[in-house]
């Protein structure tokens, strides 16, 4: 057996780890694999950062791929030094510490960076992100203080609720008129806000920060809002979205779209030796922030690297759930577009919004009671004609005679 081809994976996040697992399953010894990660340790479950911050779990539980895992599989893991350049002509990857790694195949799994507030003062001390383990540790170490979380998406809400649990005084600023506006309609957003307010979280909706104020020592002192209001803050957590990290790709001449690294249905980039997966990619105009499509991309990519070549990546809508203890929210598909809307409201129980298009479930929001989530998810994925179930549909599997459960 001659020298094995080299596979270099840039990035050691969840997409990368899943790719390694898939490859290991399909063809454990085809490649000599090197993984180069920014972060200091092994692979961990980023999704669990919110529960970690909320005190529902610990770091050890988060760690999915300790160094030993790589060792046992003969994978070289390089950490703590970022990749600075890709030389596609010579098929070399250069790292900050001056090393270079030759590849036969290269996978970019560089992930995404938190979007920074585009306002004066965003670089002050005390202005944090909530993206990786380092951020989480930083937030866990905060003394009791006043926190302003900017961004009412999943991450911002989870961070805010977790910080509230830690005893901080937390105000969440969200630029839109209702929370989770990507995942929820206004009614569910208002329910969520009400439930979180009851827990003690303060909200400012429909406002954006105009500036972050300096305390005179380079540390943030307050958030100045667009309407002029001033929210005193010892810490500001930015959770206004992510930006695919595509600079490496751009620099080496790969096709990069408005947002991410362009890939085809096999996750291949413009350069056939280079693949890209995860939050850094742009597939058919779409970027990704949730774990399910990342895993699917890893699976497809692995099958091609394994030269099985029998899979294509197709975006499938994702069911999203909020990870805040005691608040169940489920959202899927298109729930606010054209179509026929069915809503069920119970102030003390659940809220449901189903959007039907051509008699088929196009999207849904469940708030409070998500027990019928799997039932609806199946109907939604199958695109089943629901004419006959129209009346009982909003009442879930049991009322529908369990047709799909």
């Amino acid at each position: 057996m001659g020298e094995r081809p080299a596979l270099v994976v840039v990035g050691n996040g969840m997409a990368a780890c899943r790719l390694l697992e898939e490859l290991n399953r399909l063809t454990p010894s085809r490649y000599r694999i090197t993984v180069i990660g920014d972060e200091p340790g092994g692979g961990y479950n980023r999704v669990m950062l919110s529960p970690l911050l909320a005190g529902g779990t610990d770091e050890a539980t988060l760690l999915t791929h300790p160094r030993a895992w790589y060792q046992e599989r003969g994978i070289e893991l390089i950490t703590g030094t970022p990749v600075t350049r890709i030389d596609r002509t010579r098929r070399r990857v250069h790292t900050a510490d001056g090393r270079e790694f030759a590849y036969h195949r290269l996978v970019l799994a560089t992930g995404a960076a938190p979007r920074s507030l585009p306002v004066p003062g965003a670089d002050l001390n005390g202005v944090l992100g909530f993206r990786d383990l380092r951020d989480a540790r930083h937030l866990l170490a905060l003394p009791r203080c006043r926190v302003v979380v900017v961004g009412g998406g999943f991450l911002g809400l989870e961070a805010a609720e977790a910080l509230l649990r830690r005893g901080h005084s937390v105000t969440l600023v969200h630029g839109r008129s209702h929370l989770l506006n990507q995942q929820l309609d206004a009614v569910a957003g208002a329910r969520l806000q009400r439930d979180l307010q009851q827990r003690g979280l303060a909200f400012v909706l429909g406002q954006r920060p105009a500036a972050l104020e300096d305390d005179g020592h380079g540390k943030v002192a307050a958030v100045r809002l667009t309407d002029g209001r001033r929210l005193p803050a010892d810490v500001v957590v930015q959770a206004i979205g992510i930006v695919p990290r595509a600079q490496l790709a751009r620099d080496c001449g790969l096709a990069v779209g408005a947002r991410g690294i362009r890939v085809d249905d096999t996750l291949q980039t413009f350069d056939p030796r280079i693949y890209a997966i995860g939050e850094c990619v742009e597939h058919r105009g779409r970027t990704f922030g949730l774990v399910a499509p990342l895993f699917e991309q890893a699976r497809v990519c692995a099958s091609h690297l394994a030269e099985l070549g029998h899979r294509r990546y197709r975006f499938e809508g994702t069911v999203t759930r909020l990870k805040i203890a005691g608040i169940d929210v489920l959202s899927a598909g298109d729930f606010e577009g054209e179509g026929e809307v069915i809503t069920v409201q119970d102030p003390a129980g659940g809220y449901r919004r189903l959007l039907l298009r051509d008699g088929r479930l196009a999207g849904l929001v469940l708030y409070g009671d998500v027990s019928d989530g799997p039932f609806y998810e199946r109907l939604w994925r199958e695109g089943r004609d629901l004419g006959a179930l129209r009346l009982t549909l909003p009442f879930g599997a049991a009322a529908c005679g369990d047709v799909a459960a």
Binding site: E340, V341, I342, T343, V344, Q345, D346, P347, A348, G349, G350, L356, D369, R390, L391, T392, P394, F395, G396, A398, A399
Partner: protein, 872 residues
Amino acid sequence: MRQTIPHAGEPVRSTCPYCGVGCGLISDGDNLRGDPDHPANRGRLCVKGSSLLETLGEHGRLLSPRIGDRTVSWERALDEVAERFRRVIDEHGPDAVALYVSGQLLTEDYYVANKLMKGFIGSANIDTNSRLCMSSAVVAHKRAFGEDVVPGCYQDLELADLVVLTGSNTAWAHPIVYQRLAAEKKRRPAMKIVVIDPRRTATCDLADLHLPIRPGQDVALFNGLLAWLDQHQAVDRAYLEAHTRGFDATLAQARDGLGSWSGLAAQLGLAQADLECFYQWFAATGRTVTLFSQGINQARNGTDQGNAIINAHLATGRVGRPGAGPFSITGQPNAMGGREVGGLANQLAVHLELDNPAHHQAVADFWGAPALARRPGLMAVDLFRAIEAGTVKAVWIIATNPVDSLPEADRVRAALRACDTVVVSDCVSDTDTLECADIALPALAWGEKDGTVTNSERVISRQRSFLAAPGEARPDWWALCQVAKRLGFADAFDYRHPAQIFREYAAMTGLARRFGKCLDLTAAAALTDSGYQQWTPRRWPFGESERCFSDARFSTADGRARLIPCAPPPAECRSAELPLTLNSGRLRDQWHTMTRTGRAPMLFSHRDEPFVEIAPRTAARFGLEQGGYARVRSAAGEALVKVRFDDGLAEQALFMPLHWTDRFTGRARVDALVPALTDPHSGQPAFKHTPAMIQPWQPRWHGLLLGAMAAPAVDYWARVPVDAHHWRYQLAGQAMPDETTFMAWLPEAEHWLSLDDSAAGHHRRVALDRHNRIIAWLALAPEPVHANLEWLAGCLAQPVADGQRAGLLLGDPGDGGVDLGVVVCTCFQVREGQLRAAVEQGARTVSELGLSCRAGTNCGSCIPELKRFVAD
């Protein structure tokens, strides 16, 4: 809650307040059973009687007098009534005031009302809803016998070898009489039962022969019978010659125009063999009873129809004999008592006549009456016409609901609304008639009233009170006496106890006896108060034969009965616009305008929405669907009801129940459709033959609504009580209501559960109060709304459990409960599905069904329907 009177706890014997059978019952206010010692029922009770306790309670009662919308004291209200009556009498004479009373009144109430109006106010303008019920039979009796007397008794039905039931759905309208008959038929299968009815009713279940006669042909049928009897030498010549007059003229009339028997059969719409079978049986059977009721009486020639029946009995000498006689059965609990005291505009008192000077003098003397009326007053239909015309300016309506029960009922309502003074005495607070009242007086209800009633076999029984009067409710006789005193007649109306009134009335029947009448209660004239209290059911005339006219001595001046020539009415002509004939009648589980049965949720399980029945083939012709909606139209009015197929109806026939009022549905008062055509002799309206048209009505939305709310203003609504405080509404309409509209139907609530699917037209709401109790439930949909009604009803006013919330909006607990269909046995709430299951498990007879699921083992009213299950 019900309040029982101090001596309560003791079971009290009383009389059922529903139909004219007059069953005895025993109750302590908490339990109720049939009185085993009462001669009418010997312990049996029908479903209505059995559920009487469910109709009690203070909710919905009229508890204090009102003038307009103001609650006032009795003093104030009585002053107002007396003042207004006095003013009208002074300015316009006594004929400008009127009383309109009811077969629901006790004899004592009736007696006082009659005495006040005829004897002291000086007008005979006192009529009664009995006018609508059996006044044709009254006139028929008077014409034939010289006195309004039912000669026989219920036992005759058990002694007869042939029982002819005509114009009577006995099984539903007089269930205990029917059950006695059914028991005898079972014991003695050889006895023959013939049912003459255009409809194949539940009563036909017992029939050896059903004659589905064309409506309005009874005179032709019984004239034909008379001719047949004569032709077959079956008339009793000796009896006719010794005891009657008029046979020859009557026979001549009967033969007039009579061709062949086949021609007659065709005219009647019957098979010739069936017609001849009936005639043969009648001719051959000495012990024959002909029981007749509203189907005979409620016709433009109701009196002639009654006499045609009596003619056949007189011609065969079958009157007042064991197991033989014509038998008019009344609809109301005390129609007979009213007839006896004379509470009708064309009678004087105690079977005496207004136009007989000797009678007049005797009554004037007895009462010491200063102004005893000399001419007949206005009978019901004419009375309300006079109110409409403004010639009667003040009317006092007691215990009846003419806005629903009179023909051309919308006109009656308009007349009352325009009338200067309408006084209404009622025990409930909300009736279509009370809505027209200027002054409302709270009356006692059954269970609180104390007095006597007479049933259809002349048995006088006590209605006793075992419940305290709620609020300020008072006896009707008391209110009448109070007004009489204010009008200046204190001496003649100084009654303190119903026993005093009864004694006076009993004494007064001595006048009847003096003029050769059967009515004679004089033996009770000296009754003590405790004797009155302990009165046991007794048939008048006391101490003599069970039957009247057994000796063939009649109450006419010459002691002979009269056969009355009866000409058949001109043939009914249907128009192209109104090609159908609308019949009306009672249901098994409801009573009159539902003021009492409408309080018992159980009694709606048999039929819960207003409907029209139609034969399937006719329905197909008019584009109607089973369970759909129909507009029924006549020259007088219109109704919007559900459609029920009934293949027991003839081709051109429609049937609507008489019970639904504006309190229970939007537009289904059948009497609003009935034209005010009356019998020329009795003034009784023809309720059974209304020319009508039907057409389908297709709603675009349906709704189901539960809660304590008033009826929403929608095209169709019908409601049933769920309990003392909540209703269940069925709704339907054309334009789908928007959210603002339907939310206005619902109460203020703390929390709402909701479902909205605007594209599909589905909307649901559950309203919760701050204790999380369910206060209202609404579902709207383009299709009829299905829900587990029983479960939902049980949820009302209860806190909602967490696991229930989704099921609550759905209207079903989701425990896999299956719809068992409608309730067949009301007593034990046995549903169709349970009966079918019992049959599958091997039940082959009605009694096996009873063993299996108890159906039919209490009141037995459902047995005709149970038979269908074992027969299928």
